[in-house]
């Protein structure tokens, strides 16, 4: 067994264990932290697959930005003390069934992979960050700029949807009375 396979098995076990632990854990913060670990191991697997940029992106964006945001929200909402309850019954059962079906599908695909070899595209893409950067700023410059616009829109949306109506300055006549939270009377 080559070192690569051994490392892969270890990482895979860690990833699966973290995923299960995330699902099973009763504490939301612990769940989030397990997910962070899961993401980190996946990042390393990406590295092993020869995609350094994706690996780093995974760790900085997923495990870093997104999960930190998760943790913030959980702590703001007091999620560590949430009761376990199910508004819709039977969700777990359905979830388990679907998971089993998915697993069966994957296994079947692995066993019966007829014709799949010809589908593997002979990709000669250079996946180094330098190459990616060149592509992004040359061929895909327009989508890149559009992405920045998407972010701007998201910011505007966040600002609008959470705005509080301004408090009127004293001396100005009140046309509609609004209380502090900005709801119209």
């Amino acid at each position: 067994m080559s070192p690569a396979v051994i490392i892969f098995i270890v990482l895979a076990l860690v990833a699966v264990a973290c995923a299960v632990a995330m699902l099973v854990s009763k504490n939301a913060v612990y769940s989030a932290l397990f997910l962070v670990l899961n993401f980190a191991t996946i990042g390393v697997i990406y590295l092993m697959l020869g995609a350094p940029f994706i690996a780093v992106a995974q760790i900085t964006v997923y495990a870093g930005a997104i999960m930190v945001l998760f943790l913030f929200v959980i702590m703001l909402l007091g999620g560590e003390n949430l009761r376990l309850g199910e508004p819709l019954r039977g969700q777990r059962l359905i979830g388990l069934i679907f998971g089993a079906v998915l697993l069966a599908e994957i296994v079947l695909l692995l066993i019966f992979r007829s014709g799949m070899d010809q589908m593997v595209g002979t990709l000669t893409i250079d996946t180094s960050p330098a190459a990616l950067g060149l592509e992004m700023f040359n061929k895909y410059s327009l989508p890149f700029e559009v992405t920045s616009l998407v972010l701007l829109v998201a910011v505007i949306g966040a600002v609008i949807l959470t705005r509080v109506d301004p408090i009127r300055r004293p001396g100005k006549p009140d046309q509609d009375r609004k209380d502090q939270s900005g709801r119209q009377a």
Binding site: S141, P143, V146, L149, V153, G157, I160
Partner: protein, 485 residues
């Protein structure tokens, strides 16, 4: 590919660039120019949109052969040109309908978001690359999520925005998965390269079918077709009425533009697959939309279900895959733009005056404002497909294409559904013209922008109902050019 941005390419993109500038300008003005007259931003936006239209006519006219810009990401042809006109007109009409009698906060953001969404739609119609398409969809949808939730103080609006966002995010995720598979098998993101990889016998049919289904999910969501239509009634009901109108017309048109292009340019090697899946979606949409509309008491929900059914009719044209089918779908979308915006405009007027958009609020509308009842009546008859209103010729073309392609059964289902649809449209006509006026309701105030919008829409409904040739000519050109990859 290094190099500068050639001037010709920038000129061809001038309308889109000016849209972005307009959005920024409106946003800036709303922050800086505090003491402006109440409708100033509205009219500036409309002027800007018309200017973009003019720029498109001057600089971005389509040329004969396929013409790709931005490194093969966008294609300038009659389809993108025509749909750009549709989006700009639709946005202008929506802006007119959005005028409120008392200006509210956030008007600048509202308009800026609307303009950004139009920008995204123009990109969607012109995309020749799956990555560009995905981003175009995002930039179209994101402002619409926010706009749907714009009156978030009301529960229904917040619910609308949330549902639209969740549904949209989910379906676009599935679609991106499909795109990633497309990239995987071809190693490229451009349509023509992917089409080469999808040539028959290079891949097992099940795989192509699977990828097609995944990609279709996103499109069916965007055009509110079954089985991804569940968001439409709640979102249309909760969103501000002009936005609901915009969603049902321009957003749907954008979805169809991208769908038509991707069908012809990427999946052209699998006509039976295209037909089978799209025909199934069409039949489901028509049946679900029409039969569920029968029970609705809220006009916006009814229009939502009607919108689902209309998407079904247009899908018939898309499913057939012939130039006639595509031109029929395009003509239908043009007619649908003015028709549905007239309907939603009328709803906006009544709900702004009475505070309700239940059907009962339209009782006796003819006695309260005969012109408004006439416009809404014309819109309803157009939706029903009665000559000489715009919707008739759209349905005619779509069903004609089905018959021409030999799918007569599909046309039969379509026409029978059209009759069912007429039932609830006629019912609305009856409510407007024959039911008594509700207690204590006075005359309706219709401010000038609403009048302008409804007038333009009514004129459009009639003109497109009599005079077919110019619009059909353009639609046909667009469809023909789709076939010359």
């Amino acid at each position: 590919m290094t190099g500068s941005f050639p001037a010709a390419m920038l000129l061809k993109s001038l309308p889109e660039i000016s849209l972005v500038i307009l959005a920024g300008l409106v946003l800036l003005l709303s922050l800086v120019w505090k003491k402006r007259p109440p409708q100033a931003l509205t009219w500036i936006t409309i002027a800007g949109l018309m200017l973009c239209l003019l720029l498109a006519l001057l600089f971005a006219l389509p040329v004969k052969g396929p013409y790709l810009i931005w490194g093969g990401l966008l294609k300038i042809d009659v389809l993108s040109f025509l749909f750009r006109m549709i989006f700009l007109t639709g946005a202008a009409l929506t802006v007119l309908i959005s005028v409120e009698r008392q200006p509210s906060q956030g008007q600048g953001e509202y308009l800026a978001l609307l303009i950004t969404s139009v920008f995204g739609m123009c990109l969607m119609a012109a995309s020749a690359d799956i990555l560009m398409l995905y981003l175009a969809i995002e930039i179209t949808a994101m402002p619409l999520f926010i706009l749907a939730a714009f009156q978030f103080r009301q529960k229904k609006s917040a619910e609308a925005g949330l549902k639209y966002f969740l549904y949209g995010a989910m379906t676009s995720t599935v679609m991106v998965f499909g795109f990633s598979l497309l990239f995987g098998i071809s190693g490229q993101t451009g349509y023509s390269a992917i089409a080469a990889a999808l040539e028959p016998d290079r891949l097992p049919v099940s795989l192509t079918a699977g990828i097609f289904m995944l990609v279709l999910v996103g499109f069916l969501f965007k055009v509110s077709a079954a089985p991804f239509h569940f968001w439409a009634p709640d979102v249309y009901e909760g969103a501000p009425t002009p936005i609901a109108g915009f969603l049902s017309t321009a957003s749907k048109a954008a979805g169809f533009a991208a769908l038509l292009r991707i069908l012809q340019e990427v999946f052209r090697a699998s006509p039976e697959l295209r037909f089978g899946l799209l025909a199934a979606a069409a039949v489901a949409s028509m049946l679900i939309g029409n039969f569920l509309a029968l029970r609705q008491k809220n006009l916006k929900r009814l229009l939502a279900y009607s919108s689902i059914a209309q998407a079904g009719y247009i899908l018939v044209g898309a499913a057939v895959g012939t130039p006639l089918g595509a031109s029929g779908a395009i003509y239908y979308l043009i007619a649908y733009l003015v028709t549905n915006l007239a309907a939603f405009g009328a709803v906006a007027v009544v709900s702004s005056n009475t505070g309700s958009d239940q059907i009962a609020a339209f009782s006796g509308l003819n006695r309260r404002n005969a012109a408004l009842a006439l416009v809404l009546g014309a819109a309803l008859l157009s939706l029903g497909g009665v000559p000489v209103f715009a919707g008739f010729f759209g349905k005619f073309l779509v069903f004609a294409s089905a018959v021409q392609a030999g799918a007569v059964w599909l046309a039969v289902i379509g026409v029978l559904n059209a009759v069912v649809g007429l039932y609830y449209y006629l019912n609305l006509l009856k409510v407007m013209y024959l039911d008594p006026v509700p207690e204590g309701s006075g005359p309706l105030t219709v401010v000038f922008p609403w009048k302008a919008a409804l007038l333009v829409c009514a004129a459009g409904i009639l003109v497109l109902g009599f005079i077919y040739r110019p619009w059909y000519h353009w639609a046909d050109l667009a469809a023909q050019m789709l076939l010359l990859h």
